[in-house]
Symmetry: C2
Subunit: 180 residues, 2 copies
């Protein structure tokens, strides 16, 4: 299906509560363990989502609306959360994500975007020409890719514990496909 | 890590609220669309989780504790939800899942399982000998495999809408690995 702004907002508005319900006060052995060297924990992923709220989605939407293709987006720092999450607890990050997401959605709604706005184009530093509609669809799909990743990272912690059932659990065959 | 009963229960107790926060009142275009022929929607998956609560996890745990390896588990019907979810709404299924899960966890806690209980063995109809510990770990990992699947099924709905960003979204490369 095509991006539908109201459906995108429906999904975006639910992610913080879903992650909160899943992760808050879970034992650290679920949330602070990764899949091996150079991989992320659930804690790291929530930090990455926070960084996206701050520097990626709405800032890029505004660049498209204000400058079109003339100003490429600044590159996104995929490792910023390692620095920014230091010293914080997972409940603090979940609160921060919920609050930034709510602010961003309020700002998005206030733009009152019309179909012709959604068709406006911007320039991604490596992908080239993209539309505002594609950016907003990606915001929602990016939530889902990280929910997919969190479920995989947590399942990995029980890789041995499930014994022979591992063969039946698709999540344990998933290696992340080179991306989250 | 090994299965830790208290960590397993921590996770199992959170899944219904996480799915509720993610899915309740989302537009049907997210929750009632699949990935193509012979694949499941988020709605189907919640129905499958309900069927597991009814016929799989605790019933199998009791077979292990009562009969050990002498009585193989009855096979699990992976398509039962198609029949059982008919005529129900997603909010009804979410409520039913939450209520069955709460009852099952109450029953699990009441068993007061000790380490020697967790080491008890049963017989899976195709996998052969399994332990109670492996069964309980699989219950938790099975939640995660279906959260992984739900995030993938929903992301699939925006496969075209994200345009060139699809290359960066791991969830869109995931084909389910022959299992959920």
């Amino acid at each position: 299906m095509e991006q539908n702004l109201s459906h995108t907002i429906s999904l975006l508005s639910r992610t913080p509560a879903a992650l909160n319900a899943l992760l808050r006060d879970l034992p650290d052995s679920w949330t602070h363990q990764d899949e091996g060297e150079n991989t992320w924990t659930a804690f790291d992923i929530v930090g990455h989502l926070i960084h996206g709220e701050r520097t990626d989605w709405m800032p890029r939407a505004k660049i498209i609306l204000q400058s079109g293709q003339t100003q490429p987006f600044p590159p996104f720092d995929r490792l910023a959360q390692i620095r920014e999450s230091q010293g914080k607890s997972l409940p603090q990050l979940l609160d921060q994500f919920a609050s930034l997401r709510a602010e961003n959605l309020q700002e998005l709604r206030a733009l009152n975007l019309r179909q012709e706005d959604l068709a406006q184009r911007g320039r991604h530093p490596t992908l080239g020409v993209v539309t505002l509609s594609q950016l907003l669809a990606t915001w929602a799909a990016h939530d889902l890719t990280h929910l997919h990743q969190i479920s995989r990272v947590m399942a990995h912690q029980y890789r041995d514990a499930v014994g022979p059932w591992g063969a039946y659990l698709g999540v344990l065959q998933c290696a992340g496909h080179g991306s989250p």
